[in-house]
């Protein structure tokens, strides 16, 4: 039959995919060198923040299919951890990055453990509540550490001694996109591993996943913890860029935007997240002139997309495994 034909075809796609990835990376690398306008670089920075947040939600929503509409709560934990520890104790941002990630991860573990068995819409409602509780707690200024509605300000620039001080738009641009790049690498590796498969199995059929030996509870929690840790990193970078964090940055609407990023791109699709994040972060800038209608247009775009491309703009293609080409390269595979 035409099997050989088919496999060579998918190998071809793989190669073009790699070229495509290199091309996109180059584009991101060269962007600030070509565009000297700080406004555009800042827009690209926020595109990066949304991409990182989208990637973090994609683990929970895209890979495992858990409806999480309170994801900004995790980012808030990360941002406030950085803000408070930096302004109170002067701990450098680079030290606080992993600490923020861990704080958000621990928070996610504690909060989602009791609700992890909930399915679909029930989980969705509980996570909305979780996100709102985080925001309201921050507004209420517990122990006088979160600064209430004003938030915390005066956060340092990220720096390693005098060697590297990230203090302008271009540096922040590279900072966020390096973080995004590393995250993408890690997530691509995870997708074609037993962990990524276990996540997808849970999304596809939870009972069959259990019966195939997958500890559903563990892998759902792992997704939440990992997703929260990444959101914590994004929050931390966000805090150091704006030098101020306030509760309104982590509203329910923002969580909905993250949800849209994953849905627009396609559940579980990494390139899709870039498209979704671009749509969410660039759209308001492009349509700035008719600001009052932009939500209308955005809503219409979402409806149209769900009608004509319900799987997202760039859904994940499955076929040959990325590990397979690696094995063949190593000359070990006899298949």
């Amino acid at each position: 039959m035409n099997i050989n034909n088919k496999t060579s075809q998918s190998a071809g796609i793989k190669i073009t995919n790699n070229w495509f990835a290199i091309l996109v990376s180059l584009l991101f690398l060269l962007f600030p060198l070509v565009i000297k306008n700080n406004y555009f670089i800042d827009v690209a920075f926020f595109f990066g923040i949304y991409t990182l947040l989208g990637l973090s939600l994609n683990i929970v929503l895209g890979e495992v299919g858990l409806f999480d509409l309170g994801h900004m709560g995790f980012a808030a934990i990360g941002a406030y951890t950085t803000a408070i520890l930096n302004t109170s104790f002067g701990i450098p941002i680079f030290v606080l990055l992993p600490i923020s990630a861990i704080a958000a991860a621990i928070f996610a573990y504690l909060v989602t453990s009791p609700i992890i068995h909930l399915r679909g819409d029930y989980l969705c409602i509980v996570t909305i509540g979780m996100g709102e509780i985080v925001r309201l707690t921050l507004i209420n200024n517990p122990f006088g550490i979160t600064g209430g509605p004003n938030g915390v300000f005066g956060i340092d620039f990220p720096s390693i001694g005098n060697l590297l001080i990230i203090d302008n738009s271009v540096k922040f641009y590279y900072f966020i996109w390096v973080a995004v790049g590393l995250t993408v690498l890690a997530l691509i590796h995870l997708q074609d591993s037993r962990i990524g498969r276990a996540w997808n199995c849970i999304r596809e059929d939870i009972i069959a996943a259990e019966a195939s030996g997958i500890d559903v509870r563990y892998y759902k929690l792992l997704a939440f913890v990992l997703g929260a840790a990444l959101a914590g990193v994004a929050g931390s970078i966000y805090a150091s860029k704006l030098m101020i964090v306030s509760p309104e940055s982590f509203s329910f609407m923002e969580s909905c935007m993250l949800f849209c990023i994953v849905l627009i791109g396609g559940m579980g699709s990494i390139p899709g997240i870039f498209i979704g994040a671009a749509a969410i972060s660039l759209f308001p800038e492009i349509f700035q002139t008719f600001a009052q209608y932009r939500m209308l247009i955005f809503g219409a775009a979402l409806v149209l997309m769900m009608m004509f491309r319900p799987g997202g703009v760039w859904p994940r293609k499955r076929g040959k495994l990325s590990t397979e080409s690696m094995l063949i390269k190593a000359g070990k595979s006899e298949i």
Binding site: I195, E204, E324, M326
Partner: protein
């Protein structure tokens, strides 16, 4: 193992007959007022194909769901290789060595056939989150092993040609075989098949019978629920008949086939329906 048997206070049954792989003891499951499974005693012999038959609603699938941990029993216990496995979760049951398929096929539809079978080996592999993120050599090696086993199982069920196709896109009969391949990938001691021939045509059923007869030559035990009497009579070494949650007969296929109680409860009715 012996300690565990004694701990469970069940040494009498389990140590006498070492050939018994799975054993249930007065297994009972109720749904509200309905007693779906009523004090079922079941013994599955090692290396044999045992079948459970019975009319619709007899509680056969419920027995399977209890054994594989999807339901918790209301009463009774069950033992696997002499070890008590009551109240374990489904994934724990699988790692003990019991794999199953479902009556209405439950595949990971949006994943490729190969990935489906690879997923079946989840409990037999152990790479954690960090080796996976950094793709450490240990993880790559394990992935390669997982993939080789998966390819072998796919070949065994004749689906090698479809390995990169999504599970939802292959033919119904192939989906059944893929589900069996996924269960086999976990290298189980006991394979539980819930109506493997339902929805298959005569040719496919015959292939299935041949396949199972070949499969049993591996170090494996098979327990199945079946409606198709040709399949049951063709391959079973032991048949248990259930009706309304109770066990009404058991024995060799020929004995059961001629048992008047069975004919009345099940075969007779079935014959009428078919005519």
């Amino acid at each position: 193992m012996k300690n565990q048997i004694e701990e469970n206070g069940n040494k009498t049954i389990s140590s006498i007959d070492r050939e018994i792989v799975l054993e249930t003891n007065k297994l009972t499951k109720r749904f509200g007022g309905l007693v779906a499974v009523n004090q079922i005693d079941l013994k599955v012999s090692k290396g044999k194909i045992s079948s459970i038959i019975g009319p619709n609603g007899a509680g056969k699938t419920t027995v399977f769901n209890v054994i594989t941990g999807i339901y918790q029993p209301d009463d009774g216990q069950y033992f696997f290789k002499g070890e008590k496995i009551s109240n374990l979760k489904p994934h724990q049951i699988l790692s003990k060595g019991i794999a199953r398929t479902f009556q209405n096929i439950r595949l990971f539809k949006g994943m490729t056939c190969l990935e489906n079978v690879m997923s079946g080996q989840h409990a037999r592999s152990k790479s954690g989150i960090w080796p996976s993120i950094f793709r450490l050599p240990s993880q790559t090696l394990e992935e390669k092993k997982i993939q080789e086993i998966a390819e072998r199982r796919l070949k065994q069920v004749g689906l090698s040609d479809h390995k990169y196709e999504l599970a939802k896109n292959i033919a119904y009969g192939s989906q059944r075989m893929l589900e069996i391949a996924r269960a086999l990938a976990s290298n189980p001691d006991l394979l539980i098949l819930d109506e493997p021939s339902s929805g298959l045509n005569d040719k496919e059923s015959e292939d299935l019978v041949n396949f199972l007869n070949e499969l049993i030559k591996e170090d494996l035990t098979i327990l199945l629920i079946e409606h198709d009497m040709n399949v049951v009579m063709g391959i079973s070494d032991w048949v248990t008949v259930m009706d309304e949650g109770k066990k009404i007969a058991e024995g060799k296929p020929e004995e059961v086939y001629s048992n008047p109680i069975v004919i009345e409860a099940y075969l007779g009715k079935e014959e009428e329906e078919e005519n």
